[in-house]
């Protein structure tokens, strides 16, 4: 017998049927080798073919016995071919699907439904194919078969789609309602409406009555509390040692990580929710609103219940007359709509000196519309609270740093919506504040710096657990911090005969203690600064600030130099470098010291030439010391001089060499410094003084600019 193409296909179909039965029978015992996995994963691609082909074949099949079509060989052959190929495709799809189902991450009743409806497509279609030419197979049977196959296709398709896309994929965007909470935040219970839904979304599919992996079931409280084979799920109050959180926090690749790899993971918010819930003793009965307003669990739970930006508040009252609002606005009172098309108004009043109680009274024109009123810092008295109590829709009231003592707070009980009240910085009387709980709607009470004692505050919180009390920062004296340094009043560092110094500190009541001998000041023995300090010679001033309740400051240190004489003229025999010669003839004795900023105009720079200056004194002066203040900044080529010569005398042309100094050579890695190079000589009368300071002409081998000349920077010459 010659094997036709069709005959071959029929054999294949039979073999496929047998194979499917085999797969179904030994499902639990088969593992799919990794190289066959791609075959299984092609299931979602191939499945579209049998759907279309079989549907069409079934349509043709149900009209096959119609008189006109019976005689059409094309119709008959086409139908039979179509049915065969459709059935073959469905068999192929089912085999792929069975392979795929062996991979991680597929289980549950949805899969079972999908599997069996899919398998039945193959079986029903195969039976139709083999029986369709028997004598008892007539119109009626053909139609029943066609309908049955189509039904199976629809069901299998539906379950399959639900597996990949999730329930309600098609209508989600239309119905949408699923995403919104069924329970309003005000009524929601922590466990039932927040924690349990997390479990049912992310855990329940494997830990349920039918399929309790690890013998753990999470469908209700009793099951949860029981735990699984590894023990209890959590230790109330101790998230760190609770199995539940332990498993959640294991690395993804760990076999015991939950939910298992490939499954829908917990979001960070959900993990935080679970952690805080366990930390809060795994509370089972409380409502979300029973927690303090600022409690992390409450905040997270509220967002969880109302995930989309909390709906804008809708107000039941009508908008105020526009001209009335406009009339109320002036430079010190701002009345503005909370948002476009919102009837609600917010009011701020400013400027202490302009404030009069009428500013609040006049607001009665819009008393229905005011939802927020800000009177901070104004001389408002309890009397005005009577007026405010008539602003029936008020939500937020700010009375910080006003002159109230709390006597008028009872008036605010009339406000049904008041949720936030700020009374920081007022001098409150606790007897009045005690009654605050009578404002039923109050959620937040801010009373920092009100003179209430710690025990008053605790008592208040205890009797009003639903109100978030914000008492703010109060220094308990246990964690002192360091004071900042004192400052001096002058930036003059060089003086002629004496210098009067003032020291100050920005904080009131600070003591400044100082030394002038270079030792560290201390809080007991060192001299206390009082008004002014007179310096007469070269001095290193060290000062520290002290105050009780603070750590003493770091040491402030400054040097002061005496330069008794100022030359009448200074002449440069060799010019300094152009860039650093501004006002050169003055800056060397202007009594101003520079810092490391060479462009500050306080420095004179030399490179090509040595420094050679000639100073002239109209009145001869007695001199025995010349000090050059120079810079050392090695990376930028700035070196002190290699040699300093001081020449002097009474005749310009007959100067004698008085002194010659060779400072130590600079080593590699020398820190930046301001250096004093002093040349001393026997005291003598001087009219002319010539100073020659030689810069380093050749930078040493270790320097990046080796071979080039170094810079010499001088900012002041002290003459004594």
């Amino acid at each position: 017998m010659r094997i036709t193409f069709k005959g071959f296909a029929e054999h294949i179909l039979f073999a496929a049927n047998v194979f499917i039965v085999f797969l179904l029978a030994f499902e639990d015992k088969i593992g799919i080798p990794y190289w066959l996995q791609p075959f299984g994963r092609m299931h979602p691609m191939i499945l579209h073919f049998p759907i279309v082909i079989l549907m069409l074949a079934m349509l043709l099949e149900s009209f096959r016995f119609k008189e006109t079509y019976l005689k059409e060989p094309l119709y008959q052959n086409f139908t039979s071919g179509l049915l065969l190929s459709g059935t073959l495709f469905s068999a192929l799809t089912v085999i792929m699907g069975l392979f795929l189902s062996k991979e991680e991450g597929y289980s549950g009743s949805l899969l079972q439904w999908h599997k069996w409806t899919g398998v039945s497509i193959v079986f029903v279609a195969s039976i139709i194919y083999w029986c369709r030419n028997t004598s008892w197979y007539r119109v009626k049977l053909a139609r029943i078969g066609a309908v049955a196959t189509t039904l199976c296709i629809i069901l299998a398709g539906h379950y399959g789609a639900s597996l990949t896309h999730g329930d309600n994929f098609v209508l989600e965007s239309v119905t949408g309602a699923k995403a919104l909470p069924k329970v309003p935040v005000a009524e929601a219970r922590i466990f039932e409406d927040v924690i349990l839904p997390v479990f049912s979304q992310k855990c329940l599919s494997c830990h349920n009555l039918e399929k309790a992996k690890g013998s753990l079931m999470m469908h209700n409280v009793t099951a949860l509390l029981k735990g699984g084979k590894s023990g209890k799920l959590f230790v109330p109050g101790k998230p760190e040692i609770s199995l539940l959180l332990d498993r959640i926090h294991l690395p993804m690749d760990d076999k015991k990580h939950m939910p298992p790899k490939g499954k829908d993971q917990l979001s960070n918010e959900e993990i935080a929710l679970l952690r805080l819930w366990v930390k809060g003793n795994a509370e089972l009965k409380k409502k979300v609103v029973d927690l303090p307003v600022n409690d992390s669990l409450r905040l997270l739970a509220s967002t969880f219940l109302a995930p989309s930006a909390a709906a804008e508040e809708k107000y039941a009252f009508a908008a105020a007359d526009e001209s009335a609002v406009k009339k109320l606005n002036n430079n010190y009172r701002i009345v503005y709509a909370v948002a476009k098309e919102s009837p609600a108004l917010a009011v701020n009043i400013y400027n202490k000196s302009e404030y009069k109680p009428e500013a609040v009274k006049e607001l009665e024109a819009v008393k229905q519309q005011i939802v927020s009123l800000d009177l901070k810092g104004l001389p408002v008295h309890d009397e005005e609270l009577k007026t405010i109590a008539r602003f029936e829709n008020l939500r937020e009231l700010n009375l910080n740093f006003t002159n109230i003592n709390g006597a008028g707070l009872k008036e605010l009980q009339a406000l049904k919506y008041l949720s936030t009240l700020s009374i920081s910085g007022t001098k409150l009387n606790y007897d009045f504040v005690k009654q605050i709980g009578k404002i039923k709607s109050l959620q937040k009470l801010i009373l920092w710096n009100t003179g209430l004692s710690e025990s008053d505050l605790q008592q208040l919180q205890k009797s009003n657990p639903k109100i978030a009390l914000i008492s703010g920062f109060k220094d308990d004296g246990k964690h002192p911090i360091r004071l900042n340094q004192p400052r001096i009043s002058t930036d003059v560092a060089v003086f002629k005969t004496s210098l009067a110094l003032q020291m100050k500190h920005p904080i009131n009541g600070v003591q400044i203690r100082y030394t002038t001998d270079g030792t560290e000041p201390d809080s007991l023995k060192s001299r206390l600064f009082d008004q002014s300090l007179l310096i007469k010679g070269n001095t290193t001033l060290k000062a520290k600030a002290y105050k009780t309740g603070w750590y003493g400051s770091e040491t402030f240190s400054a040097n002061f130099y005496k330069s008794s004489y100022q030359a009448d003229t200074i002449q440069f025999l060799l010019p300094p470098e152009d860039k650093y010669s501004a006002g050169a003839s003055k800056v060397l004795s202007d009594h101003q010291l520079g810092d490391y900023e060479i462009n500050s105009g306080k420095w004179v720079g030399f490179r090509k030439n040595n420094m050679e200056t000639l100073m002239f004194f109209r009145q001869p002066v007695m001199m025995q010391s010349v000090v050059l203040n120079v810079m050392r900044l090695v990376p930028t080529y700035i070196f002190p001089p290699v040699e300093v010569e001081v020449w002097g005398g009474s005749d310009k042309n007959k100067l004698r060499l008085l002194s010659k100094v060779k400072p130590e050579a600079i080593k590699n890695g020398a820190e930046r410094a301001l250096i004093k190079v002093e040349a001393k000589f026997k005291a003598q009368s001087i009219s002319y003084l010539k100073i020659v300071a030689k810069n380093l002409k050749v930078l040493p081998q270790w320097h990046p600019g080796k071979g080039e000349p170094a810079w010499l920077f001088v900012d002041e010459i002290f003459l004594n």
Partner: protein
């Protein structure tokens, strides 16, 4: 401004139509159709945009603590133990993925990874990681939202800073504060809606220029007003000798009349802006001294912000001043703290910078909270980009530097309707790329505007033939971090 010019043009048209063409009422009707408030007068303040948000805002004000120079995310909020493990090893090319480099490291032969010199610990209920450099911020971690997945487009300071503030890398567009002033106006007519405070740390610094707080093409009343960092934050507030308050008032009234005449003639809206600025300055004379006087702050406040808060020109003093300005209705207070550009000596320089800002930044949060203001004030802390995970220049055990890095960095936000105590976004284990919930600068800007009740796509201004927005043509509100 466009409208005003048009209106001025139409004014002439109206005259011409009425007198010469005698079209009468028809043209009047047409004119008022084109410009609805054509006949309500020119220099009246009420003709300014009313400043009402599109929807009910969560935040009324912003305090932006800009850390200029770009603090390293790897030594502050983005904990990457892997970098310590791989210390000195080469940054894998697959991670760098062709990221362009600045001229400062482009020629560097190798990119050795370097871990944080400072340790990290977890804090608060949110268990957020914070480095040891920020002990005070660590204490308020449950009040702030740390975003670890910021990314930007620029790689150098000025363009990046300009991008953050104006939405474009080149200058001349309005700054964020100017947009808010334009969109919402001032809450307090006695103070500018947008103020700027500068301070400088000891670290390697980068300049800030007034173009960062420019009004751009918006009316110049929206320009940021820079407060001086000396003893007198606003100069020349006192009346000159021999001129009392009453004389000053009379002078301003006369001046306003003269300006009105010249406005009638030229129709330049800048004239009316000028008049308003004179008036504002007059009122600031009484409002400002009260606010800038820090000497009456209680001792607890000084301890909270740290003793530097009384030294003018420090970051701490500016934080305290920012709180006072914000409390008094200044819409947008912009701080800049310079000195965060640690190309070298990062461990020591950054410690100094952090010490400058840590206590005062945290104090600002606590202080706003204890006044009930945190709910309505949005506080933002962050730089213009991040820093590389590899060392710039020579690296030793306790000294290294980091170059500019635009692809991933951290900032934090607090109050103003932002979820407290969360960490948003993740970077890869090298701290180089964002791997989840990226937040682009435009997304950040859109979110800030959204919190103030403004739709960033609707807050536009037509200039040179096109409509401009702060977020240019992109930006999505980061809803995940909002309450």
């Amino acid at each position: 401004m466009e409208k005003d010019f048009l209106e001025h043009g139409l004014n002439f048209n109206r005259r011409r139509f009425l007198s010469k063409l005698s079209l009468g009422l028809g043209s009047v009707a047409l004119g008022s159709l084109l410009i609805p408030d054509l006949f309500t007068g020119g220099m009246d303040e009420s003709s300014l945009p009313p400043g009402i948000p599109d929807f009910a805002p969560k935040a009324k004000r912003v305090i932006y603590l800009f850390q200029n120079g770009a603090p390293s995310q790897l030594e502050s909020f983005d904990y990457k133990p892997k970098l310590r493990e791989m210390m000195g090893q080469e940054l894998p090319a697959s991670i760098r993925a062709g990221q362009r480099l600045t001229g400062m490291t482009a020629n560097q032969a190798s990119f050795p990874l370097v871990g944080s010199y400072y340790d990290f610990k977890q804090y608060g209920d949110s268990r957020a990681w914070v480095s040891d450099l920020f002990p005070y911020t660590a204490k308020v971690v449950d009040d702030i939202c740390i975003i670890k997945s910021m990314h930007t487009e620029a790689i150098n300071h000025d363009p990046a800073l300009t991008f953050f503030q104006t939405g474009a890398q080149q200058g001349n567009r309005p700054s964020m504060g100017a947009w808010l002033s334009y969109g919402l106006g001032s809450e307090n007519k006695n103070l500018p809606a947008f103020t700027v405070l500068l301070s400088r740390g000891k670290g390697n610094g980068q300049g800030v220029y007034s173009k960062l707080w420019t009004n751009g093409f918006l009316d110049s009343t929206h320009q940021g007003v820079q407060f001086s960092s000396g003893e007198d934050p606003v100069l020349y507030l006192k009346d000159p000798e021999g001129l009392n308050r009453f004389e000053r008032r009379k002078m301003l009234d006369h001046l306003a009349k003269l300006n009105e005449i010249s406005y009638q003639e030229f129709g330049d809206p800048e004239i009316s802006a000028k008049v308003q600025q004179y008036e504002m300055a007059y009122r600031m004379q009484t409002a400002v001294p009260e606010i800038t006087d820090l000497s009456k702050e209680p001792d607890d406040i000084i301890k909270l912000y740290g003793p530097d808060c009384l030294v003018p020109g420090t970051f701490a003093a500016n934080c305290l001043l920012a709180r006072k300005l914000s409390e008094n209705g200044v819409r947008f207070v912009q701080l800049y703290h310079q000195g965060w550009d640690q190309h070298g000596n990062l461990p020591s320089e950054m410690a100094g910078q952090a010490k400058d800002v840590d206590q005062a930044s945290a104090a600002l949060i606590t202080d706003l909270k204890q006044r009930g203001l945190l709910d309505e004030t949005l506080v933002i802390w962050g730089g213009e980009f991040g820093r590389t995970n590899y060392s710039q220049g020579k690296m030793t055990k306790d000294n290294y530097g980091r170059d500019h890095h635009p692809r991933c960095f951290s900032i934090w936000m607090a109050g103003g309707g932002v979820k407290p105590g969360i960490v948003y976004g993740e970077s890869d284990e090298f701290g180089y790329n964002v791997i989840s919930n990226p937040v682009h600068v435009h997304d950040f800007q859109a979110t800030v505007l959204h919190q103030l009740g403004l739709n960033h796509e609707k807050l536009t201004f037509k200039h040179l033939g096109r409509r401009y927005r702060l977020t240019d043509v992109s930006g999505k509100v980061v809803k995940d971090i909002l309450i």
